[in-house]
């Protein structure tokens, strides 16, 4: 499966040309994920997308939640912020609006996003903060050794639920689509090319880009495996008549996470206006919050109190 076969040669050529940029991101720290873990592919696809989009190491901040995914936070050579479990969207949002010239990426797992901190997701989407959020959905709590998450399929026997999960799993994209988002996409950790392409589009989005990655966790998720997904995935870009600017199409496409699982750009609002551009106080500002820290004359306000 690939959304971008025709571009494939271009991609490789560009990567070849920008090998130096690519190598600059490569850390000498040893990655600690299990073998076969989907996080390897995700990290690689992110690096590729950054290089292809010509986003330089210095213009980038990557924010990581706590979980297996976050263990990559110090294994990429760029400024990173490894925050607290469940909270990374808000921290990243605060960073992103402080300097909108920087590319801000945030990553978190399904435990973080849909159990510990869904509030942050809801309002991150609603406020359309200028950032890309990569949602690592491995359908369990990897780092704490395989407990069920809100995404774990019914009946799965997990650590702490030995008799099997008794409640239905959540559908991440369906949930996000109910919040009037401006960018929603799905991809799959088994396909680096597809991920790369989706990440590139997300990074170019003005506003909050939500990208769900079905991430393989061979250690704890024996059910929705690489093969399981490969047998079910359908790329939206191959579907005739699919309109990614139509939220109804998106809702419909998001629905099935059992049989025919749609990946690609589910929804994109081309007229998306990021948060800070909606504010009367910031609309016309040419500078960033990080450039503006100096004494502000408050004489006028003082005189009002006379």
């Amino acid at each position: 499966m690939s959304c971008c076969g025709k571009n494939q040669r271009d991609v490789i050529e560009t990567l070849e040309k920008r090998k130096k940029d690519y190598m600059a991101l490569e850390s000498k720290e040893k990655l600690t994920w299990c073998s076969g873990c989907g996080n390897y592919g995700i990290q690689k696809a992110i690096e590729r997308a950054l290089v292809l989009e010509d986003i330089k190491q210095q213009d980038l901040v990557m924010c990581f939640d706590i979980g297996c995914n976050g263990n990559g936070s110090d294994k990429i050579n760029t400024t990173t912020f490894h925050g607290l479990h469940g909270r990374i969207i808000s921290a990243a949002a605060g960073a992103a609006i402080a300097n909108t010239k920087m590319q801000v990426l945030a990553e978190a797992g399904d435990g973080a996003t849909f159990s510990e901190g869904p509030n942050h997701l809801i309002h991150g989407v609603r406020n359309n903060y200028p950032m890309t959020f990569i949602f690592h959905n491995n359908e369990n709590y990897g780092l704490t050794t395989g407990q069920a998450s809100a995404m774990t399929r019914m009946g799965q026997k997990m650590n702490a639920t030995p008799d099997g999960v008794v409640v239905k799993p959540m559908n991440a994209c369906k949930f996000v689509l109910s919040l009037e988002p401006t960018f929603v996409a799905r991809t799959f950790s088994g396909d680096i090319d597809h991920m790369t392409e989706i990440f590139r589009l997300a990074m170019n989005h003005k506003g909050f880009a939500f990208v769900e990655v079905f991430q393989m966790c061979p250690t704890y998720n024996k059910h929705t495996t690489q093969t399981w997904f490969e047998e079910r995935i359908i790329d939206l870009s191959t579907m005739k008549g699919y309109d990614k600017h139509n939220i109804k199409h998106a809702m419909e496409a998001a629905e099935d996470i059992e049989k025919e699982i749609k990946v690609g750009i589910l929804y994109e609002d081309k007229k998306s206006v990021p948060y800070q551009e909606l504010l009367e106080s910031r609309k016309t500002k040419k500078t960033e919050l990080v450039d503006e820290v100096k004494h502000v004359d408050i004489t006028k306000f003082i005189n009002k109190q006379k």
């Binding site: 210095q58 509030n119 309002h123 800070q276 919050l289 003082i302 109190q305 006379k306």
Partner: protein, 578 residues
């Protein structure tokens, strides 16, 4: 006359605030010093509340308990507040039911309080006014009792309602009627109007905090509404369009704190404020700020807990929480404001300390400071330099390495730079880490980094100013204070001086880490040193006793939601100084 204490009492939502504002501003324009607080329940309408104004020719710092004059806007005001008027005082009202009045008149007579009555509603309606304009009638009546010229009051009413000529006309008729009518005879105070008018501003502590923050270059303010911190959010939002500061009401306090940390990490100045319950939710983020060495400043506007507690009342109960909350061991700074001036200044220092030491700073205020409007000299600008502790020189930025960010240093402070300003990247890591932020679980490496962070606390302690002694070095009775009690002590000092009793006090702005040198001297110089604190535990007292190895003679503690009144201190002193 040193001061007159007025109370405007009525149901919440009865137009109490506007009566108070008109009174306060008129008195201020006339040259008086004004000090105004509001007591109200946590409801929007209904429930009795009151607004107290202390005024006089000299600066007033605190509130009195005993009231000279009450203006009761409704029956509740009349019934509830009659007992708070001192002997010889006056209660002005417009309550027309005769049968109730009998009892009240008797009570008033027994207490030596004069009741002054006009059928305020009738008068207001006779001029085409409404219920709210009965307030204006009573205002005119009160003004008559105070014995002042009507002009300044009329001017203020014109200033406020000039844009609504119809209402203004009725208001002026109501005022005039009450002030001039010969239907009744009223007692009259003889108060000298000051000759000079001090150049002052009238504002509450929360506005002073907002102004200090804006002045000090705060560019992002995040908050979730919670009394008594909410008005900071309101004030900041009022200043947003003109200053470009980004003001965001966030979904909860966890997100508030996280966004503030994110913005600070990115290199701007961010601020947030809350009350105790909100600070509870922020504690994990305080710990994160400490670990990642990201500056973080939060204001805790205290109200009594636990839980929802007394949402609209005052407290100093969160000190231990400010010092000890959040997991792990790390340095932090806790400071406490005591009035608008210190609110304006300390918030600027708080931001400097947070950035220079790369630590969390918690600024404590109290409802009585947050919402009491008082008169202070116009704030001096550009007095406190902005210190960010950032690397900004291009050459130095170009030469930075990732290891500089958390370099093990003697004073514990490592270089900090704005992401994107240098080719050097770094990892801000909530896991224990090495100098470039890369995770480590090696015992020796971890210990080195933990100690480096802790050394920032030692450096901070060295550099913090000692507390200040107010009054003579030696006195008949002494106090150690922090927060709002400074204001009460300042007024008490004056009052006691007139009785021939000397009182001094050692006041702490910076509570943690705690300085002890001055305290030790103070205890040595003075024969009886007492603690004054607005909590049950004497929280700061315990810390000081342990750290400075001193012992208080006794403790004046108050924790029923009310601030220290002048009378509280005076009667306590009388008990201890014979």
């Amino acid at each position: 006359m040193s001061r007159i204490t007025l109370k405007v009492a009525g149901e919440s939502g009865m137009g109490l605030a506007s009566v108070g504002d008109i009174l306060a501003r008129t008195l201020k324009v006339m040259g008086f010093y004004v000090h105004m607080d509001r007591e109200y329940p946590s409801l929007i309408k209904g429930g009795h509340s009151n607004l107290q104004i202390d005024f006089g020719p000299k600066k007033i710092h605190s509130l009195s308990k005993d009231i000279d004059l009450v203006i009761a806007l409704d029956r509740a005001g009349l019934v509830e507040y009659l007992n708070t008027v001192k002997r010889g005082g006056v209660l002005v009202h417009g309550y027309e039911r005769a049968h109730m009045i009998k009892d009240l008149e008797e009570t008033a007579h027994k207490r030596g309080v004069k009741l002054v009555y006009l059928p305020a509603r009738e008068i207001a309606y006779s001029y085409g006014g409404n219920e709210l304009m009965t307030n204006v009638v009573l205002l005119g009546l009160l003004w008559r009792v105070l014995g002042f010229d009507l002009d300044p009051l009329e001017e203020e009413v014109k200033r406020r309602y000039g844009k609504k000529p119809k209402i203004l006309e009725i208001d002026l008729k109501c005022l005039d009627h009450a002030y001039n009518t010969d239907e009744i005879k009223t007692p009259k105070y003889d108060i000298k109007v000051p000759k000079s008018k001090p150049d002052t501003i009238l504002l509450d502590g929360n506005r002073a905090l907002a102004l200090g923050a804006i002045h000090a270059g705060v560019r992002a303010y995040y908050a979730y509404p919670m009394s008594p911190s909410s008005s900071i959010l309101t004030y900041m939002s009022q200043y947003a369009d003109e200053t470009g500061v980004l003001v965001k009401q966030v979904e909860d306090e966890i997100s508030v704190a996280q966004m503030a940390v994110g913005s600070m990490f990115m290199g701007t100045r961010a601020l947030c404020a809350t009350s105790g319950g909100g600070l509870d939710l922020m504690t994990e983020t305080i710990s994160l700020a400490a670990m990642t060495e990201t500056p973080f400043v939060v204001i805790n506007c205290q109200r009594p807990g636990p839980a929802t507690g007394l949402p609209t009342w005052t407290s100093q109960g969160d000190l231990n929480m400010a010092i000890h909350s959040a997991h792990g061991e790390f340095p932090r700074c806790v400071m406490a404001v005591s009035d608008p001036e210190s609110s304006f200044e300390l918030i600027q220092h708080a931001l400097n300390i947070a950035e220079e030491y790369q630590i969390p700073v918690i600024v404590l205020s109290e409802k009585v400071i947050c919402e009491t409007k008082t008169m202070v000299e116009p704030f001096e600008q550009n007095k406190i330099p902005i210190k960010r502790g950032l690397v900004t020189a291009p050459k130095e930025l170009a030469e930075l390495t990732p290891q500089d960010r958390f370099k093990i240093t003697k004073d514990g402070i490592s270089k900090r730079w704005v992401p994107g300003s240098s080719p050097a990247y770094f990892h801000a890591n909530s896991d224990e880490h090495k100098e470039d932020g890369v995770l480590t679980e090696d015992g020796d490496e971890a210990l080195e980094m933990i100690n480096k962070r802790l050394r920032k606390g030692d450096t901070l302690l060295k550099n913090l100013p000692e507390p200040k002694v107010h009054g003579p070095a030696k006195a008949d009775i002494s106090f150690v204070s922090w927060g709002s009690s400074k204001c009460t002590l300042l007024d008490a000092q004056e009052a006691l001086k007139e009785e021939g009793i000397t009182m001094n006090f050692l006041h702490y702005d910076y509570l943690w880490p705690v300085k002890t040198k001055k305290a030790k001297e103070f205890f040595k110089n003075n024969k009886q040193v007492h603690l004054i604190e607005g909590n049950a535990g004497g929280q700061f007292g315990e810390i000081l006793e342990a750290k400075a190895k001193v012992e208080f003679s006794d403790k004046l503690l108050k924790y029923n939601g009310r601030p220290f009144f002048l009378e509280d201190v005076i009667s306590y002193v009388h008990k201890h100084v014979k």
